[in-house]
């Protein structure tokens, strides 16, 4: 959906609404928009998901292969993130326009999921020091309706819940070489433990207040944005501030607290739904 | 007066050159003050910082190890054979030193300087044995010398040569230990940090000098404006036995043999001063981290 640029009166209208805890679509400041998740639609990927958060439409696919692990972390597998914003999402993403935002989105996902060591990558290890799984997580943004950071992280988490890797059996070959065998049985799959996988919660300041999950129009009135990664244990897994304006320290404390609350609610709801539909095994 | 300099730069310079002086107060044969300091970068095996007037260059040497290439029977002497290079020089002239360079594509000046310095560094007469990692010489040290220009105000060649010389004199190599593992795995290489480190024994000194021809006047150690106005540049490097290591002339006019002889004489006269400069900077063991010369 193409978002028209807003006139100063419209911006003022949105700002006044936010002050009075009533946003354009009727939500309060800390309300999240309802989102839909479609899981496992891409059959060739080991895990996939599609998230529709109001107008934001993102497709996430995961592929896996086996290689030697990073020598500094011989017990862990690896994750590689890439994000591609299609020109269909917004005319400014045409050609090289999307390079900057692609790097920012991918880097924030990497910071929250990989650098925080919150997710247990030990489950991806096949043989310490010799073989491990590498997951390549690719996300395509098909339509942008605001709040790409959050939608991407929720989509990635759902895709990871859906990931099924074939079971590996370690065999002893000749001359004491250890080899592995990939099981042919389509039923014998292992899934990943997504307990530790965090999600992003983005808060944007509009005027003197901050809101959660801003829509496309609200993004145009924003002064500054903070993307905070929250995991199930209630810990903060990564913070990145964006936007041109500054924020004062007191507001930052409040924002992190709000992010923690909103984040844990979303994670709880998401996990319940995934368990009900037998997607996550825990 | 500044307007005159901008509109008629050549005329502006002529007025000074007629009285055998340059706008910054130097004589035609005078060079700018040179400052060399070494050992400021802790993550390198040897480093130096050279400042000629305003032109600054920082050099860092990193040493890595690989198998010594075996000499085949038909190989020519190592002076001409580039396959036995153990030192690699790279020059970066980024946008940080001047706004005429861009960050994406490497400038042509940097490329040509790099190839000149790569051939020059092999004239330093460093014995192969100096660069042996272990005692038998099965493995050797390979030195990567990276030069970064931090301020470009003319005469980069001299600054780079002095930087390479002082950085190499500052290099400290540890003793190497080779641990043979089981037959299938490669032997592991370690450096012994408990033994004292050794310096490189460099056979000779390199004495660089750059001249520039401006309106039939021969100027030593050009600044940036002089380089831009010049019609030719002569770059000479001697070793300490006064053998020519590099002699390069580029320009739009041709020069006579007499001018070339003048340049060679002037460079020879300066040799003792440069040798003293390099020796002085390297004997003072620089333990302090403050690089106050910048």
């Amino acid at each position: 959906m193409v978002i028209q640029s807003l006139s100063p009166s419209e911006i003022y209208f949105i700002q006044q609404g936010v002050e009075n805890n009533l946003r354009n679509d009727g939500r309060t400041r800390l309300d999240y928009r309802p989102f839909e998740l479609d899981i496992g639609e891409i059959s060739h990927a080991v895990g996939s998901s599609r998230i529709i958060l109001a107008d934001t439409h993102i497709l996430v696919g995961i592929k896996a292969d086996i290689s030697a692990p990073d020598p500094l972390t011989p017990n862990k597998g690896s994750l590689t993130f890439s994000v591609d914003c299609c020109p269909s999402a917004s005319p400014e993403y045409e050609g090289k326009g999307a390079d900057y935002i692609n790097i920012e989105l991918a880097k924030q996902l990497e910071r929250v999921m990989k650098d925080s060591n919150s997710m247990d990558l030990g489950g991806l290890c096949i043989m310490p020091g010799k073989y491990c799984w590498n997951l390549y997580i690719d996300a395509i943004v098909l339509d942008s309706g605001g709040n790409l950071f959050d939608a991407l992280s929720i989509g990635v988490r759902a895709a990871l819940a859906n990931t099924r890797l074939p079971t590996i059996r370690i065999t002893q070959g000749e001359y004491s070489t250890v080899d592995f065998e990939v099981s042919d049985d389509p039923e014998a799959m292992q899934s990943l433990d997504i307990d530790g996988v965090p999600i992003n919660v983005t808060l944007t300041t509009i005027g003197n207040q901050f809101v959660v999950d801003c829509s496309g129009e609200e993004e145009q009135c924003m002064d500054a944005r903070m993307t905070i990664g929250v995991n199930k244990r209630g810990n903060i897994c990564g913070i990145q501030k964006g936007g041109v304006a500054g924020i004062d320290a007191h507001t930052i404390n409040q924002m992190i607290l709000a992010a923690k609350q909103v984040g844990s609610e979303i994670l709880k709801t998401m996990d319940n739904v995934l368990k009900d539909h037998h997607i996550a095994t825990k | 007066m500044e307007a005159f300099q901008k509109v008629h730069p050549l005329e502006f310079y002529k007025k000074f050159l007629e009285r055998s002086v340059r706008p910054d107060g130097r004589g035609l044969d005078c060079f700018r003050k040179i400052n060399i300091s070494t050992g400021s970068i802790m993550t390198t095996d040897g480093s130096s910082f050279v400042k000629i007037g305003n032109t600054s260059v920082i050099a860092g040497v990193k040493a890595e190890v690989a198998l010594t290439p075996t000499q085949s029977d038909n190989s020519i002497s190592s002076n001409n054979n580039n396959n036995n290079n153990k030192m690699f020089v790279n020059v970066e002239m980024g946008p940080i030193c001047s706004n005429i360079f861009s960050s994406s594509k490497p400038s042509e000046k940097a490329m040509s300087l790099c190839s000149q310095l790569n051939s020059l560094v092999n004239r330093l007469e460093i014995n192969d044995k100096e660069l042996y990692f272990d005692d038998q010489g099965k493995y050797s040290w390979y030195l990567y010398i990276d030069l970064y220009c931090l301020d470009y105000n003319g005469n980069l060649m001299d600054a780079c040569v002095l930087a390479i010389m002082s950085a190499l004199k500052n290099v400290k190599l540890p003793k190497g230990i080779v641990v043979e593992s089981s037959a299938s795995e490669a032997p592991q290489l370690f450096k012994d940090t408990e033994q004292p480190m050794r310096s490189l024994n460099i056979g000779t000194y390199l004495i660089p000098q750059t001249f520039v021809l401006l309106n039939d006047y021969l100027l030593t150690d050009p600044s940036l404006e002089e380089e831009k106005l010049s019609s030719g540049t002569i770059s000479i490097t001697f070793n300490d036995r006064f053998e020519i290591c590099t002699l390069l002339y580029t320009g739009i006019t041709s020069i006579s043999e007499k001018i070339l002889e003048q340049c060679l004489e002037k460079t020879k006269k300066r040799s003792t001063e440069i040798i003293n400069l390099i020796d002085n900077c390297c004997t003072t063991i620089n333990n302090s981290n403050n690089n106050n010369n910048i």
Binding site: S116 | I41, D146
Partner: protein
């Protein structure tokens, strides 16, 4: 077509590792003969964090700053935070080669590591993802402070080169860039100062559970791990395996506004807030050092002109 001549590694070379650490590891392996130990290459990150000797946990290192170091740039600054050395030069505001009309200046930042800046492997000449990420963070930290609308149709470029990395690279880059912009005379609302802190895991006292993560583990009553916050970490402290997370804060002290906050690693809410508060105090102190340096270099320039 211009070919990139820069030689990355013409010969496959490697860096020898430290023999002392290898010997220690061999001895440890002999002790744990039954356990299946995996050979981890001995690097600095496998050593535990050394206790700070010359400064307290809440003190930052000695800072040296100087402006006006690059004669060819509009403004420049050089900063040394003990061993971390960073130089920054600003070109602009200068006319843009593109002829399109834009009402405020275009601002771009670029950060580059010298290939010998980090211990260990040489850094490649091509721009890596890490450098790109740091450039983006640097740009977002300072752009809020510059009055871009005062310079229409111009381009302001900031180039930062890291000569030696010993922790706190982003902090040094932000501080150097602010000083360089001030030296260039670009109009700003305020200078931006930055500070960083890390949260480290102390050896926990109860149950000898050295391996437990922070917060609650999967077994109900896991003991809480002692953690402490260190200001201005060195490279060894940042990359050690005991470090739980790192916080970098950049702020404009006179306006009391935070222009950038980046947190990595998994930290509890309290640790995050403590880290941010410590950084904010650090930023104010660094700001006063920046102001002093700027005034003294201006005095030197004026006295030189009067001579």
């Amino acid at each position: 077509m211009k070919i990139d001549f820069r030689v990355t590694n013409p010969i496959a070379t490697s860096i020898p590792l430290d023999y002392k650490i290898y010997k220690q590891q061999q001895e440890q392996q002999k002790q744990n003969e039954q356990q299946q130990t995996i050979s981890v290459p001995v690097t600095t990150t496998s050593e535990p964090i050394k206790k700070r000797t010359n400064r307290s946990e809440e003190q930052f290192r000695q800072i040296f700053m100087k402006t006006g170091v690059v004669s060819q740039a509009s403004g420049s600054a050089y900063i040394e935070i003990e061993n971390t050395k960073v130089i920054c030069s600003v070109h602009g505001p200068r006319a843009s080669p593109k002829t399109e009309l834009f009402e405020s200046a275009k601002f771009s930042c670029e950060l580059k590591f010298a290939s010998f800046a980090r211990p260990g492997e040489r850094i490649d000449y091509m721009e890596s993802a890490k450098e790109k990420d740091l450039s983006i963070n640097l740009r977002q930290s300072i752009i809020g402070a510059i009055r871009l609308e005062k310079y229409p149709k111009t381009v302001i470029d900031v180039y930062v080169m890291v000569l030696n990395d010993d922790g706190g690279v982003l902090v040094a880059a932000i501080t150097a860039a602010s000083m360089a912009l001030a030296d260039a005379g670009v109009e700003m609302y305020d200078m931006v100062s930055a500070c960083s802190s890390i949260c480290i895991r102390n050896q926990s006292i109860s149950n000898g559970s050295n391996g437990s993560g922070s917060g609650n583990g999967s077994s109900g009553a896991a003991p809480k791990v002692q953690s402490s916050i260190l200001l201005d970490p060195t490279l060894q402290e940042e990359e050690s395996k005991d470090s739980l997370g790192c916080v970098v804060v950049a702020k404009m002290p006179s306006l009391n506004e935070i222009t950038q906050i980046i947190q990595t690693g998994e930290l509890s809410y309290n640790n995050t807030i403590d880290g941010i508060d410590l950084c904010i105090d650090g930023c104010d102190k660094i700001y006063s050092i920046m102001k002093q340096n700027l005034i003294s270099s201006l005095e030197k320039q004026v006295s030189k002109k009067l001579e």
